[in-house]
């Protein structure tokens, strides 16, 4: 072995086809802990009993016959065991080796086994593989548990997570290419992709059945410069929506309950304080409802209440809010409505009730109290006034509208109060 070989940071072993050692360099002496004298003339498998002798012999033969290098990937990661003493944690107990077998140029019957220490590279590969595996598992976890959608520049779905497919009933093929709009999630331009983090609640269309209520949010940080693909994260809020619906609705009629009406009234008061938006309240009561219950039973009474609610909803504006106040009393909040407008609306309702056909009962009537909110008036004060107006309508013979004419003493409304009068409806119909 030449002295140059002793300075190499790789192991060199020169062998014959039977794997007898003819020479080796200092690297091998240091790492195998055998002197050249101990190794010389010995078959390699005698020096290293665990060596894959048959494979190595074959590779030596290939190199010699082909006059070209051959290579070996030892299944253990090494050919010659070199224990690693490390102060840091390692994936390997033994040095990882790259094995090349080169035909010696000067002798057709000898080959050179070159051993390179590739532990650092294999360590990096192992770490990268472990990180990739962890990432893959994390992505799988996300895919199966988080509803996500990827969309292209046109707002069409390119990918959907397994969680989304499972929750919505869409298949990968069926959802691909559909637009956000088509799915009930709005338009691509509707999202603020640059800075926005707002969440919107939308009913997502499903291939069959009820829509699924979802909260939609732009998943930021996944964009790149090359692709215009964007990602949305969706959260199933259908249960929340159901609870919300049940908590704010009257179970029998589906109209808002009193608690929800209180919230709506509070909101209207705030809007009035901030923007001076007017609003009015109509309180109505079905005339002689007790008689209906007594004569036709409670089920018939319930049917009347349901029909009454449906009728009121169909005869009011989309912005008006209807609530069941209690028993056979209902209340309507009319945003942006002055007293005259609210009184007309109440009269329209009264007439619609009279004109409608009520199965079994044939005809019913209702009395209405109307009051417009006045500046600085509290919710309780307003409700007292509308309640009193309803009482007046009842007292004056039922089946009529009574508007509370209390003058708003505030400077803004002083003029508008001068010509207002109560509206009286039709006389009470016979029972």
């Amino acid at each position: 072995m030449t002295s140059v070989a002793d300075y190499l940071s790789s192991g060199l072993v020169i062998v014959d086809p039977a794997l007898r050692v003819l020479a080796w360099n200092r690297w091998m002496t240091e790492h195998a802990e055998l002197t050249p004298e101990q190794a010389m003339g010995q078959p390699l498998d005698k020096l290293f009993p665990d060596l894959p002798t048959a494979t190595l012999r074959r590779r030596v033969k290939a190199a010699l016959q082909l006059r070209s290098p051959s290579y070996l990937q030892p299944s253990l990661g090494y050919l010659f065991p070199v224990a690693l003493d490390r102060i840091t944690e390692s994936h390997f107990a033994y040095m990882q080796q790259r094995i090349r077998i080169l035909p010696c140029q000067e002798d057709a019957q000898t080959a050179m086994i070159v051993v390179d220490d590739v532990t650092a590279m294999r360590e990096a590969e192992a770490r990268a593989a472990a990180a990739a595996k962890a990432s893959r598992r994390y992505l799988e976890l996300l895919d199966s548990n988080v509803m996500t959608l990827a969309i292209d520049a046109e707002g069409q779905v390119t990918r959907a997570s397994s969680a989304l497919l499972e929750s919505t009933g869409w298949s990968t093929e069926a959802i691909a290419g559909r637009s956000l709009d088509e799915l009930g999630l709005g338009k691509r331009d509707g999202f603020n992709w640059t800075h926005g983090s707002e969440r919107s609640e939308r009913p997502m269309r499903r291939p069959e059945g009820e829509p699924l209520w979802v909260r939609v949010q732009h998943a930021r940080g996944l964009e790149d410069d090359i692709s215009s693909e964007r990602h949305l994260v969706l959260q199933d809020i259908s249960l929340q929506k159901k609870i919300q619906f049940l908590s704010e609705r009257d179970a029998l009629t589906g109209a808002y309950n009193r608690m929800k009406f209180d919230q709506l009234l509070k909101t209207a008061l705030s809007a009035h304080q901030r923007y001076a938006h007017p609003f009015s309240i109509v309180l109505c009561d079905i005339d002689h409802f007790k008689r209906i219950n007594d004569a036709h039973g409670h089920l018939a009474g319930d049917a009347v209440l349901k029909q009454f609610t449906t009728l009121l909803q169909s005869q009011t504006r989309a912005t008006d809010q209807l609530a069941r106040w209690g028993g056979e009393e209902f209340v309507v909040l009319l945003p942006m409505a002055e007293l005259a407008e609210a009184t007309s609306a109440a009269e329209k309702l009264r007439q619609a009730i009279v004109a409608d056909h009520w199965p079994a009962i044939k005809q019913i009537t209702a009395s209405f109290g109307v009051a417009a909110h006045q500046r600085h008036e509290s919710a309780d004060a307003l409700l007292d006034r509308v309640d009193a107006a309803l009482y007046k309508a009842k007292e004056n013979g039922r089946n009529r509208v009574y508007a509370d004419e209390t003058r708003d003493e505030s400077p803004l409304n002083a003029l508008s109060n001068e010509h207002s009068e109560p509206v009286i409806g039709l006389p009470d119909l016979p029972d």
């Binding site: 048959a54 494979t55 074959r58 082909l66 006059r67 051959s70 290579y71 070996l72 299944s75």
Partner: protein
């Protein structure tokens, strides 16, 4: 893209036929695997067609194996030995049965096979064409889906010589394809070398 004329194609086919014969002989001698080979079909294709072939191979068999080896010298390029998944499994089982308990690693067996076939063929081919070349270390890739350009490094090469044949090991039919990827100027060198071989033939 340059092409070979009819004479050059015939000449290259013959050279590769001989080289493949040497390669199967080496396989029999070194690995104890007796193989016969059908006459190879030769074609010069561009890298887009090469990409399509890899894609089709993956689609047809679910995945495929590529043993790649760089060669440098008078001509340089890359040799790719392509085996589909079924062929790779068949040949590995067959060779492992021949070789014994040491050789359980499929990748290592495929690399050895690829290296012997490639080295034997390229050595014979270069010898006949009067070229000096050195082969680099083989790498094995398993392609599951459509290969990206960087996987095949085909982006750098514009000429691909496709050598297609069926190697039969015992009853195992192994569809092996070899692709020699090279640059335009090296391809020109090959054409000239083939002309020299043709000129040296006795009339």
């Amino acid at each position: 893209m340059q092409q070979l004329n009819e004479d050059q194609t015939d000449c290259l086919s013959e050279l590769i036929n001989v080289a493949y014969g040497k390669a199967t002989a080496r396989l029999a001698d070194i690995m104890g695997a007796f193989a016969t080979m059908r006459p190879p079909r030769i074609a010069v294709i561009d890298r887009e067609r090469f990409r399509q072939i890899l894609q089709q191979a993956c689609l047809a068999a679910g995945s495929c194996y590529l043993a790649r080896q760089i060669f440098r010298g008078d001509v340089s390029g890359e040799v790719v030995f392509l085996l589909d998944e079924i062929s790779a499994t068949n040949i590995t089982h067959y060779l492992q049965a021949q070789l014994g308990p040491d050789d359980t690693d499929q990748d290592d067996v495929l690399l050895e096979l690829g290296n012997i076939v490639t080295a034997a063929m390229m050595r014979e081919l270069s010898l006949r064409m009067g070229a000096r070349i050195t082969l680099g270390e083989p790498e094995l890739h398993r392609l599951i889906t459509e290969p990206a350009d960087q996987t095949t490094a085909s982006g750098a090469f514009d000429h691909v010589i496709k050598v297609e044949t069926v190697i039969e090991f015992a009853e195992q039919q192994v569809q092996g394809r070899i692709f020699i990827l090279t640059h335009g100027h090296c391809f020109e060198w090959i054409r000239q070398a083939l002309d020299r071989v043709l000129n040296d033939l006795p009339n």
